[in-house]
């Protein structure tokens, strides 16, 4: 076994190799970038030997050179969220495309771009940008987020003051096989406000994204994303959200294909009676590795949290779930729930999980479950006995399995769109 000091040195060495000059910017962002770079250099780059990279090899995420991945033709499906009225912001290969986007105007919201804000010497985002990333470095280090904070020049800054009539939709398109993208979004939902943020598309051959969300008292953020169908795509994403009293967060991620996806979330329930629901459905066939690493910290009494993650895997696909519910001493009356389940459709698939509980308060209700197995033969038999053909019966059972995660989406119509994508995927991968 490698001594710990040597391992640390190796991580720092790797991190140093990736250091380059920071982007130019105003005073506020330069301070944030310098601090993030210092964190990156100190923590070092992630390695497979790190406890929280045990099931996912981060090497490809930090490899030198531009990553390449073939662009998937998705014309066999209707464009995502097409039926919904929304404000569209388009990024092509990780760069904002003004011509393809709607005007950045929506009542009850202030939408800006990171590239513009970075030029200013002061910006409202200064209290959030990099701050939540720094906070998220304990108890588990997330160096890729700090790397993003240091070097990202693209992203949106959204301040929600009311309840806008339509969702804000971030659309990620690709134009080149070779691309690396760093996106960093900041969202501030003011007290009592409510907004829905949609993200979809493959983004880049390799991506590293950070969303920092500050959800004030009584505010609500709905977040729904779909990570694109490109098979060779790689990416690490981070959602860092802090919630005030009675605030709500509902985040759902659909992961379809992709050779390497690491989705990290860290949520802090800082005010009483807050609520955080994080859910995800991932389906993979063949070279697919999808990792959900989700931490929810209960720092105030009376909060509720749910983590619901479902994975359907076949032909060597690998699903990873690392979850944690951390309940502080003061967080009495916590209601925490966590479920991670995998359906393995053939013998080669793998499910690796570490569902943790860390509890320091005595009057709480916390439970977690994790299961892995194949399609239940009894259920299949039941349906076949009633005349449902085998293939159809299997699909229905798989969809039913995934439904619990989709149920976490508040808007039924949006959930329906995602359900259709899953069904289409299952049709293609029979």
């Amino acid at each position: 076994m490698m001594p710990r000091a040597k391992l640390k040195a190796q991580k720092q060495e790797r991190a140093a190799e990736l250091v380059r000059p920071l982007p130019q910017g105003g005073a506020w962002i330069t301070r944030a970038r310098e601090a993030a770079l210092a964190r990156w250099s100190e923590m070092g780059a992630p390695l497979k030997r790190d406890e929280y990279w045990k099931f996912t090899d981060p090497r490809a995420l930090i490899a030198e050179g531009t990553a390449t991945a073939a662009i998937q033709d998705t014309s066999d499906e209707a464009p995502m969220f097409d039926a919904f009225d929304r404000v569209k912001l388009v990024f092509v290969d990780g760069v904002f495309d003004a011509a393809a986007s709607d005007a950045l105007a929506l009542e009850g919201v202030e939408i800006g771009l990171l590239e513009d804000a970075a030029k200013a010497d002061l910006h409202w985002a200064k209290d959030i940008y990099g701050t939540l990333d720094a906070r998220a470095q304990t108890p588990v280090e997330r160096p890729l987020a700090s790397f993003n904070t240091a070097y990202a020049t693209q992203g949106v800054l959204i301040r929600v003051t009311g309840t806008p009539a339509k969702p804000i939709s971030l659309i990620y398109r690709r134009s080149a096989d070779g691309s690396d993208a760093l996106l960093h979004h900041v969202i501030r939902v003011e007290a009592g406000a409510e907004v829905t943020l949609l993200e979809h598309g493959p983004l880049a051959a390799r991506s590293n994204t950070v969303i920092e969300a500050d959800i004030a008292e009584g505010a609500t953020l709905h977040h729904i994303r779909s990570q694109g169908r490109d098979h060779a795509r790689m990416g690490a994403s981070h959602i860092f959200a802090q919630l005030g009293a009675k605030a709500q967060l509902k985040s759902f991620t659909l992961t379809v294909n992709g050779q390497l996806t690491r989705n990290e979330a860290q949520v802090w329930l800082d005010g009483a009676d807050g609520s955080a629901h994080l859910a995800g459905a991932s389906v993979g066939d063949g070279a697919f590795h999808a990792d959900d690493t989700v931490f929810v910290a209960h720092n105030a009494p009376g909060c509720e949290s749910r983590q619901v993650f479902k994975k359907v895997l076949r032909h060597g696909a690998v699903g990873v779930f690392q979850g944690k519910i951390l309940v502080d001493r003061v967080a009495q009356k916590t209601d925490g729930y966590q479920i991670s389940q995998a359906l393995l459709l053939d013998e080669d698939a793998q499910f690796l999980a570490k569902p943790e509980l860390e509890i320091y308060a005595d009057d709480v209700k916390c439970s977690h479950g994790s299961t892995s197995g194949e399609i239940d033969a009894t259920q299949l038999y039941y349906m076949r006995a009633r005349g449902v053909p085998e293939a159809e019966a299997k699909m229905l059972l798989v969809l039913a399995f995934l439904a619990e995660a989709l149920d976490e989406i508040a808007d039924d119509a949006l959930a329906g769109d995602l359900r259709d994508r899953l069904e289409a995927w299952l049709q293609r991968h029979k």
Binding site: R329, L344, Q350, K354, P355, D362, H368
Partner: protein, 503 residues
């Protein structure tokens, strides 16, 4: 116990539960010391000490080399830092690695020759080393039931009972130092074959300096005629105990083995790093039960045993079965993961655990179920109870390898917190690499399985009655895994209700 006395009772946690935890973990009954003249090896750890221990035990060259290799590996290793334990720095040079009563210099030929002081010590602990007597706690319960005991006092085995009767059945039960002399071929074949010298930091330390422990060999087809038991007692100050237990169950054999341990109350912490290796061959069955009651430290967290134990069973052949049952009430720090390697097809591993941590105790314990063979089965039931300032962690691994088709695991962890200064944690690792295996991990606050409850209610019971029945049945299910000999301790635990717990 002040922390507990002032505990405000939460809804669903009854006074009886609190009191039972108090009586189990609050007052330490075995904290007295035996005044006896001891012979120590010099303080500290070095190759010379390893050589000295080997020489004292009159060991063959290969074993000395084996120890030295372990020692050299140990010097290059670092202590584990991944457990949810705050382990104070241990000065390995401030410990004695070998201590034996002077009266044991000439090894007694029979129990009659053993120093009466030592016999008294064990009698006081409820472990009479006389063959006509049976263990305390079972008197009347099962008349004529016999338990063979190997008593280990600091670094040496004091004596083993019922040896003749066991020998008649072909069973070898003796101290490991004796086994090295009498059955070197068996020891050489199996020692380190389950837990290699460099398996982990504490296993390496143990491999270098282990002084005594028990050796059990059950020949093919033999059902061991009585329970076997080892009782470990740490007595000397600043002395670590490093026992090594090796159990080999040949084809179709069967044995139940019990282990108990206590130590005097002292202000300074003491080190205990044991290794238990179990080899289970075709159709054999081994049941290993532990009541761990090392001194847990006082109510301010002073003193106590640091218990770093590596226990592993290797179900090497088809249909082998192993069952670990543990009741962990003692030790300031517990770092212990009794594991099952399910190599043979249709082999089975079970782990039942109750861990109670009070005051400033810290426990990080659980199991590993490594499924390698087809149709292997494992079951984990763990209950952790935390009180005072204690931290109690279940840490476990369930691993289904690609070839372990049609295997099953079921895991259930429940934790109970009494007071808001303690912590209860669950850290399970689940690795499933084939689809036909089914793995279920569950840790819930609803202590009662909804299906069972539904079943009872359907048959006309009211909810409370149904809950009581199911909880009772569930609790018994774990405790019944304990052999009769541990009945006394087990009974005290039955009273603990599972109300108000968290997973």
């Amino acid at each position: 116990m002040a922390a507990l006395d002032n505990t405000e009772l939460r809804e669903g946690v009854d006074r009886e539960t609190v009191e039972t935890v108090q009586s189990m973990a609050g007052t330490y009954k075995h904290g007295w010391e035996t005044e006896i003249e001891m012979e120590f090896a010099p303080k500290g750890l070095s190759e010379d000490i390893v050589r000295l221990i080997s020489e004292k035990n009159n060991e063959p060259e290969w074993l000395l080399e084996w120890r030295l290799e372990a020692y050299r590996r140990w010097t290059t290793m670092e202590g584990p830092d991944w457990a949810m334990l705050d382990i104070p720095e241990i000065d390995y040079q401030e410990q004695y690695y070998y201590a034996k009563p002077k009266s044991m210099t000439e090894k007694p030929k029979s129990l009659d020759e053993v120093d009466p002081k030592l016999l008294e010590t064990y009698a006081k602990l409820g472990i009479p080393l006389k063959e006509q007597m049976i263990l305390a706690g079972v008197e009347g319960a099962d008349e004529g039931r016999k338990v063979a005991v190997d008593a280990v006092f600091d670094s040496v085995s004091v004596g083993t009972t019922f040896k003749k009767e066991l020998a008649a059945a072909g069973v070898i039960f003796c101290s490991i130092s004796e086994a090295v002399q009498e059955h070197p071929e068996l020891v050489r074949k199996y020692l380190g074959s389950v837990v290699p010298q460099n398996d982990n930091y504490f296993a390496a330390l143990n491999s270098a300096v282990f002084s005594d422990g028990s050796f059990v060999y059950i020949p093919e087809g033999v059902k061991c005629p009585m329970e076997l038991s080892t009782y470990f007692r740490i007595n000397a100050e600043n002395t670590g105990q490093f026992e090594r237990t090796l159990i080999v169950a040949e084809k179709g054999s069967h044995v139940s083995y019990l282990e108990g341990c206590t130590a005097p109350k002292r202000d300074t912490a003491q080190l205990h790093a044991a290794v238990v290796e179990i080899v289970v061959l075709e159709d054999a069955e081994v049941k290993y039960s532990t009541v761990q009651n090392w001194f847990p430290g006082d109510e301010n967290g002073k003193g106590g045993i640091y218990n770093f134990v590596t226990k592993r069973a290797d179900c090497r052949e088809d249909r082998a079965k192993v069952m670990w049952t543990q009741v962990e009430t003692g030790s300031a720090i517990t770092w212990k993961y009794p594991s099952c390697i399910l190599r043979g097809d249709d082999s089975q591993g079970e782990f039942y655990s109750i861990a109670i941590a009070n005051n400033w105790q810290q426990a990080d314990t659980g199991t590993k179920m490594v499924h390698l063979g087809k149709n292997t089965r494992s079951r984990i039931v763990s209950k952790g109870i935390s009180a005072g300032h204690a931290q109690n962690t279940y840490r476990g691994l369930v691993s289904m390898h690609p070839k372990a088709k049609n295997s099953r695991n079921y895991t259930q962890c429940d934790s109970l917190l009494i007071g808001d200064l303690c912590g209860a944690h669950t850290v399970p690792y689940i690795e499933v690499k084939n689809a036909s295996s089914r793995v279920e991990h569950e840790a819930t606050t609803s202590k009662v399985d909804d299906d069972q409850l539904f079943y009872c209610r359907q048959r006309g019971m009211d909810e409370e009655e149904a809950v009581a029945l199911v909880v009772n049945g569930f609790c018994k299910e774990v405790l019944q895994e304990l052999p009769m000999e541990f009945a006394m301790e087990a009974q005290a635990l039955v009273a603990i209700s599972l109300e108000g717990s968290v997973g």
